[in-house]
Amino acid sequence: MDESEDQAGAQLRKFQKELSTGTVALALLAVLAAAGEPMYGYQIAKTLERVGQGALAGKQSALYPVLRNLQAAGLLDSFVEPSDAGPPRRYYRITDAGHGALRNWAAAWRATRDSVDAVLEGIRQ
């Protein structure tokens, strides 16, 4: 049935959206921490695109507001630099508070992943 397929697709999209709400901020912090140098929005989006699967494969326009929030929360700081390719770019860099948050969030994420995996183990037959 076409209609039930549509519905299943919509439910999957909703689930992925809810998943990404929490994980995108963690992924952005991780990308910036791993890079070790300031990156601008487009670079971050492309880095994430290379590894992004599942919930992280959403539209990249969703990343910019999250970057802004992380900056407002003091986990990132940013500066603007002119570029010859186009408009001036806003570079983001992870702060000390950001590193701290990343450690805590990563631990929370691993615990969540393990327990979800453990529960899913039960249905794998």
Binding site: T21, Y40, G41, Y42, Q43, A45, E49, K59, Q60, S61, A62, Y64, P65, V66, R68, N69, A72, A73, S83, A85, G86, P87, R89, R90
Partner: protein, 312 residues
């Protein structure tokens, strides 16, 4: 549904995005356009062998088509607003509760502070605008005035963003967090021309000049109202504590006088409870007035500092 063809150039894409965001908060529109332009320009610069139309077609699946981007920004904004803002105080049911509940509203204190601050910022903006405009216009008959004028217009844009931040933090009105993009692909001279014809430059200068008289009024209101309210509260308390004398008149009627030796109030002892009540009511009324002015000023600032129609 949407029968418009897909955009093939960056300005078209941005225009499409702006239309999709119609009715949204103008400050959100400005931020969304800034982000989109950064992404599109970077993508175009990364892939020099592709045409603009091809790049934009590819971008629709990675960054998102204008309509999708508009939805994402609308969505995220709601989430962020609820996450970052302090929770609004629980609405009180009784009229009395509503009147005194203002005491627990951080917005009222912030507005009060903004009103005091606006005297300083108002004088600065006014001086800056008048000096900048008159010096550079005056010198424009010689060649040196032209670069000065351009610098001045640049500074107006920066100050507009700064005032926007102050207004958002203190008055809670959503203001842009990113500057306006200038239209690309235009020569330096054309872009300088754009600065002159941009309504926002002129409305910002108008705002900068208006903030001085407004700041004086705000400051006077706060100082007068708070002074009257606080001394009306202090006078009865001081009399009851035996520190001040009641019913004396020194050089006219005064709520609370100090002549170098004695503290006194002109209110006779019998009227003191009434004076205390008046002071308390006035104090709370002042906070209501401050919160109200803050709200109105926020809208006023948004109107003059953020242009609703961008790139039109």
């Amino acid at each position: 549904m949407n029968t418009r063809k897909l955009p093939t150039t960056i300005p078209e894409y941005l225009e499409h995005l702006r239309r999709s965001l119609a009715g949204a908060d103008p400050a959100l529109v400005q931020d969304a356009l800034y982000d989109a332009e950064e992404y599109l320009r970077s993508e175009l610069a990364e892939q020099p062998d592709k045409t603009e139309a091809e790049v934009i077609a590819a971008v629709a699946s990675s960054y998102g088509a204008p309509d999708e981007v508009a939805d994402i920004y609308r969505d995220t904004e709601v989430k962020v607003q609820t996450a970052l803002r302090p929770p609004p105080p629980r609405p009180r049911s009784s009229a009395l509760g509503r009147f005194f509940g203002v005491f627990a509203d951080p917005r009222a204190y912030a507005s009060l502070f903004y009103m005091v601050l606006s005297l300083a910022t108002g004088i600065f903006y006014f001086t800056w605008a008048v000096t900048g405009l008159s010096v550079s216009l005056g010198l424009s008959i010689t060649i040196i005035g032209i670069p000065l004028l351009i610098l001045f217009f640049g500074s107006v844009r920066v100050l507009s963003l700064v005032e926007g931040r102050i207004v958002e933090v203190m008055l809670g009105e959503r203001m842009p967090r990113r500057p306006l993009y200038t239209v690309r692909g235009r020569s330096l001279l054309q872009r300088i021309g754009d600065m002159f014809t941009d309504v926002r430059t002129w409305s910002t200068i108008l705002y900068m000049m208006l903030l001085m008289p407004l700041g004086i009024v705000y400051f006077t209101l706060v100082v007068t109202l708070l002074g009257t309210a606080l001394s009306s509260i202090a006078a009865p308390v001081l009399v009851w504590l035996g520190i001040a004398e009641a019913g004396t008149s020194i050089g006219g009627w005064g709520i609370l006088n100090y002549d170098g030796e004695v503290l006194s109030t002109s209110m006779p002892a019998i009227g003191l409870p009434l004076l205390l009540l008046f002071g308390i009511v006035l104090l709370f009324a002042t906070m209501h007035i401050a919160r109200g002015i803050g709200r109105v000023h926020g809208l006023f600032a948004k109107h003059l500092l953020v242009k609703t129609a961008q790139h039109d």
